[in-house]
Each structure stands twice: as C-alpha cells, then as structure tokens.
Symmetry: D2
Subunit: 233 residues, 4 copies
C-alpha cells in the first residue's frame, strides 16, 4: 500500500495513476475532497481518497489512522497489503521579487510547504521508525540552489531539505528510509496558481516525471536510491 499526499493534481495525481495502473493499493490524500474523489473514481477500485490538512498534526494523525484502517480492511478482504511507501507531494508555489511579495501569501507558502512536510514526516517517524517504510519527500530543484524571483519558495524548499537531512541522521540504523526527490519545473497547474507566467509547453509533463520517479525508486537488500534529481531535458 502506498500513500500519496498532494495527489489531487500535478505530480501527486500522476504518481497515483502510475501506481494504480500497476495494480498497487493507493491511498491519495489532499485538501480538496471534491477533486480528490474525482481522481479516486477515475483510477478505480484499488485507489481510495482521504482528505487531510497536513499543516495540522491532528489531521495528519487522523490520516494515518484511516490509512491503517484501510490497510486492515484490505488484509481481511484479500492478500496482505502493508503501507510500505509514503510519497509526499503536497506543496504550493509563490513567486516574485521579494519587495512585491505579500506577507499573508508568504505565510501560507511556508505553511503549505514546510509545516506540512514536518508534520507528515514527524507522524511517520512516530508510527513507523522501526518498520521498513520508505518516506519519499518530493521537493524541487529550488531546494538545491538559490533563485532570483523565488526567494520565499527557496526558503520553503531549503527548509524541507535541511529538515529531512537532519531526520535522516536521527533514523540512522532504522529500517525506515527517507528518499529525497528534486524535480525541475513540470508542465502542470502549479504555475498558473503560483502567480508566475511561464511558457511551460516544453517542460516535462507530470506523467513523464511520475514515470521516471517510479522507475528510480528502487532498493535492494543492502541499498536504496536515496536522492533523485529529475531535470528538464
């Protein structure tokens, strides 16, 4: 069983489709129940939707409770299906020269990207640190370099990177692994909602990125792919 956050659009929705097409049990999560349900319905019986606000620890905890209930129900009905992977895609963008950025929008950006990642990883560590669960945290190439016009977005993404690199040190020797993913810009609904006008027609589609990510997320008995950067060609 795979839990995907931020799955109501973009890379999250595309990953849900990839894994669902592969006949895996997929739980998709997001804040927008209507959009989420539409996606779950389109994907079929092996997908279920759970609405959650990841910036709230209570909502994150409730999400994992529901995941565990779904897991148990699954195990009764058919072959055992343990939650082995969480892919955290939730996040939002906000851009512009710093002097033009709006304080409320900045605060929301930090919540959507930093607080949500912290709450999600914190709950996963609380529940699964002694289990072989992979927590895949999708950030952005903006977590790896500074960018003019993206100062607060870089702040948010660098924060998540500093956070997970530190949690990795805390998980040393634990079977739980954190996998860091840094995708470049994709041709998704992300840009229109971020306020940045861009011609993204030559960008990779969310499905292209999802397909690459699914292939690259491999592990063996003694090792695993821990960091993945996906660039535009």
């Amino acid at each position: 069983m795979i839990l995907i956050t931020g799955a109501s659009s973009g890379l999250g929705a595309a990953l849900a489709k990839c894994y669902s097409d592969d006949n895996q049990q997929v739980i998709i999560s997001g804040r927008n129940t209507r959009r989420l349900d539409a996606i779950a319905q389109a994907l079929g019986a092996n997908t279920c939707a759970i609405t959650a606000d990841l910036t709230s620890d209570a909502s994150v905890s409730a999400l994992f409770d529901q995941v565990e209930q779904a897991q148990q129900k699954q195990q009764v009905q058919q072959a055992p299906s343990r939650l082995h992977t969480v892919i955290h895609c939730a996040g939002s963008g906000y851009f512009g020269a710093i002097e033009t950025q709006n304080p409320a929008a900045i605060a929301e950006l930090l919540q959507n990207n930093i607080m949500s990642a912290i709450m999600l990883v914190r709950e996963a560590v609380k529940r699964y640190r002694d289990q072989a669960v992979n927590v895949v945290v999708v950030m952005s190439t903006a977590a790896q370099s500074a960018k003019a016009g993206e100062s607060t977005y870089c702040a948010a993404k660098w924060a998540v990177r500093g956070f997970i690199e530190s949690v990795r040190l805390e998980l040393k020797g634990s079977p739980m692994k954190i996998i860091a993913v840094y995708p470049g810009g994709m041709d998704t609904g992300f840009w229109p909602t971020s306020g940045k006008a861009l011609d993204t027609s030559s960008f990779m589609s969310a499905l292209e990125a999802a397909d690459m990510l699914k292939h690259a997320l491999v592990s063996t008995q003694h090792g695993y792919v821990a960091d993945i950067t996906i660039n535009r060609a």
Copy 2:
C-alpha cells in the same frame, strides 16, 4: 546608525554593547520592552530601544519608520547619522528528536526564525535597495549542515539561508548588500530557553562572538566580507 534586532539578549545585546562602546548610534529592537529598555539604559545616550514583532509586516514597517524618525532627529541635533547597517540577530531555538517535538512549538520556531527574517529583509529591500545599506543576517552553523536532534531548527536556518542567497541574486548590481553570518553555539541564555541541556561553559561568550563579528564586518571601495562563519575553538 546601526539597527540591531534580537538585541534584548545574547549576541544581539553584545553587539549593541560593542557598537555603543565604539560611540556609534545604535537602535536596538526586540519583543520584550522591559528587557530592551534595561539594555538601552545600561548602554547610554547613543542607544535607543524600539519594540517590534518582526513576524508582523506592519510592526516591521513601524520599526523602520521609527528608525527613520530617530535618524532625522539625530541629524538635526548633531553630525548626520545615516542608517548604514542592519544586524538581524532575532531568532529562537527548539530542539529534540522529531517524534518528541511539539507542533505548536515547531510553528512558533518557524515564525520566530523564518518569518521574521523574511519580513525584515523584505522591508529593508523595499526601502533601501538603492542605498549603501548592509543587512547582516545572523543565522547559525545549523544553516550549513544537518544535525540530529535539531531537525526543525535546521529547517528554520536552512530556510533563511536559501532566502537570503536568493535575495542576493535579486540585489545584483544594487549598493545594498546582504552579509551572512554563521556562528557556532555560544554561552548565552539561548540554550536554557531552547529546552536543550548543555554544558556551555567552554563555549564562546556572546561578547567574544560580537567582538569577532564587529572586526570581520569590513568593506572597501570595491569589495566586502560577505560570509562569516564563527566556530568554537
């Protein structure tokens, strides 16, 4: 004239003392009016205190309005005294293994460190991007590496670093400069309030660090010291 934030304790207060002893006009800011006033009084006539909540853009804007009023008043009374340096020391610490950290305390940590730095730099850029103003942003060595037991603190500090590195790109060619300072742990009140029990008796004192920083903050006609890491011996 120098504006120092987070000046009611620790490195900020020590820097205020160093610059005040050097007969510079110093404006100290912090959230705790009582502590701030006590420090201003101890330092003497060239120091004045302005209370501000840096997580609020309105409060940051009011702070700079008051700085500019103080500046004008100063210029009437005596030799001209232009605001040439802002040293941002405000911040707080919060530590512990991620599964033991409290969501409300995490949210407060992010506000105190990320939102305050963004609001301060944003207002400074709005007002002074075409002036020779140095904005010195004091972070921590936690902005440069990951640390077990400091995951959310690293998140906060990496965020500030990613933010200022990006704003630097936006300021290319501008006379305003951003200087990044990364001090190691000091023997200050920071640790008791952070919840981390440490023997800090061999750490550098805030005055030692302030003295080093004051010496290292140099510039010439064509160059300036842009990044400074201060380590424990």
Copy 3:
C-alpha cells in the same frame, strides 16, 4: 551501444554484466588488458574490451576512435547501434589520516580520479556535444560531504563534482547530458586495494548497486534523472 570505463572490477564490471544480460552492445574499458578480456569473454558476444589509460588524452581519444569503429562495424553487421551512453566508473581509493598519507600515492589518487574524469568528459564533449549522448559520471558519497580519514579521496571526488557541475552549465541547451551518480560504499575489491580495513559484508554488492543504477537511469522526451545517490540500507 554503451561504453563503461573502470569495467575490469567493481561497479563497472557489474554494470557491464547487467547491460550485457539485457542484450545491449557493451564496450568495456580499463587499464588491465588481461582482467578486461576475461570479463569480456565471460559476458559474451555483445561485449568487447578496449584497454585505455584515461589519464592520457591520447589514450582517451584512441578509445573513442575504437568505439566509433566498433559502432560502424556493428551497424554493417546488424541493426544500427549508436553510442548513447558512457558510464564512467574508473577511479581508485586511498585513505588514512593526512599526516600518514604518502605523496606519491596522493598524486596517483588525484590522477586516477580527477584527471581521468576530466579527460573522459572533455573528449566526450569534443565529439558528441550536439548528440543525444548521456555521460554518467560515477563518483561517491565522498563527493557530497567531508570525511575524516578520507581527505584526499574527498578532494578527488569534490573535484570531479565541481568539474561536471561546471561542464553542465557549458552544455546548457545541448542534447548531451551529464548524469551524476553518488554511490555509498560497496562490498567490492575497492577496499582491500585502498589500504582501508573494513568489514564490508553488510555493504551492498556491486551487482545490487549496478541493478539499482540501471533502473534509475531513466529519461523521457522532456526530462531525465540527473543526479542519483545510492545509499547503504
């Protein structure tokens, strides 16, 4: 057609096996003709061996000449087989506290790791910068962090990283791509020859790492996996 350097042992030899098993045309290269021939023979008809000293530009140029001849011969005999991927695995290790390291061994380490990577990438760029050729440069997690006891090895690996990150900027807009790979320690002959005594029985085998890398090296029309870190579990 795939060219693999450093293929007479370790990850290079394991990758040769993976791609050969997958019925790809594989050219393996190394300095030790005898070992190289033994591997080529073990792998079968779709593999051929070309001895080369990558620290010499003449030898690197001769290697690519032979690759192109093999390519043409291949195209006459059967389906066209263009060189689409170069995987650079060549390198060596040398460890110890800096004051115990031997100058001649240090010089050899730098040659084996830095000069070879520069010569190989330089020749590839000269020949193929306008073609869709992927140059996969295998480094080490020692290229991503500092390590006590590995100072000159880190020097060598950081050098290669700084080099390829810069060449990437020069290749902007070119169909040639450079892919950076950072594997953690593997259970190979690398350690005995490096002078570092380690129990590597829990490390991933070269075949495990090769298998993961082969899966993770994916690309689509508009994007590609550009950086891959493979950690020990």
Copy 4:
C-alpha cells in the same frame, strides 16, 4: 611569525605588505626567487624570502625547516617570535570551455592548486597539530559554486575545499585551526596569466582584499572566524 605562500604576486604579496607594515615577522614563499627577493627587499628587515615548490613534499618540508631556523634565529636576536599563522595563497588559474582546454595545462593547474594545498597542509599537520597554529587556506568563490568556462578551475578549488573540510574533522579537538577563505575576483596579474581576457578595473585590488582579510582573521579564547567569503561590491 607569519608564513605566506604564493607571496610573489597578487593577494599573497599584498598580505605580506599588510603584515610587514604592521611590524610582524613575515616569511614569504614562492617559486620565483628573483620576484620573491624583490618583494622581500621592498618590504624591509622584518620580511625574509624562502623559495619553495609546494607541489614537492621534500621542498615543502625544507621550507618549514627554514622557517623553524628563522624562528630560532629571531628568538635569539630579539623577542620570541613563534610561527602562529600560515597563509596559503599559492595557486594559478586556467580557463576556457572544456573542449578548448589543453591537457598539459590542466595537469599543471591541478598540480599548482590541489597538490600544493595538500602538501602544505599535510606538512603543517605533521609538525604543528598540537600547537596553536592557524592555517589559512585561500581558495576562491569558484570553490563554492560551478562556473561555465571554469570547469577545471572549479575542479581544483572544490578539491581543496573538500580536502580541508575533511582535515578539519581530523583536527577536531586540536589547537591547530584551518581557516577557509573564498575571495571573489581581484584586479591582479592572475587574469592575464590565466588566459582569460577580462576588464578587471572595477574589481577589488589585492591590497583591498588583503586589508579586509587581515581584519577578518580574528580569534578569541573560545572562538575564531573559520570561513570568510570576500565578494566584489
């Protein structure tokens, strides 16, 4: 007593002048005896010149032997003068798109920058790791980021950075400190000899950079400035 390498021109020569003007005992080193002697003569009685080829461990060892002899002679004649600081400025530049770079010039660049830094630091650690000696390693902003047209220069500088960051870990708890300095481009003879045509008239002069560096190299009982980046204004 201060030892400055690469002191026959540029930043090294400027630092020699700054410290000599400050009445410190200065030993300058370089490969060109004639230029070195001319500088020593211009600077006066507190400066002496020792020719050395830092890429040779025998020559580096001989250099430190002569420094120790000079130290003893000094201590007989007047006030004790212990070697407390080594400033390593030696290095050279070589630029251009990778496909245009010459293999012999690349090899020389790596020797001049990487091998010299390793040999110098190695010898200093061998002799002084239990003494309060500061080894200041001057690199370049090219050690901190990738640059098109500077791929092999970045390789060399990233190597030195990876090296000293690792040696720092080996020196943990030792009174010997390594200080890392990253200056931006200066208006010196470096550029004409590097083959890069640049208008450097607005760059900082070597004396400006030397003056800033001298101020920024501060330490106290419990701390020290460990990393310094000097940017162009």
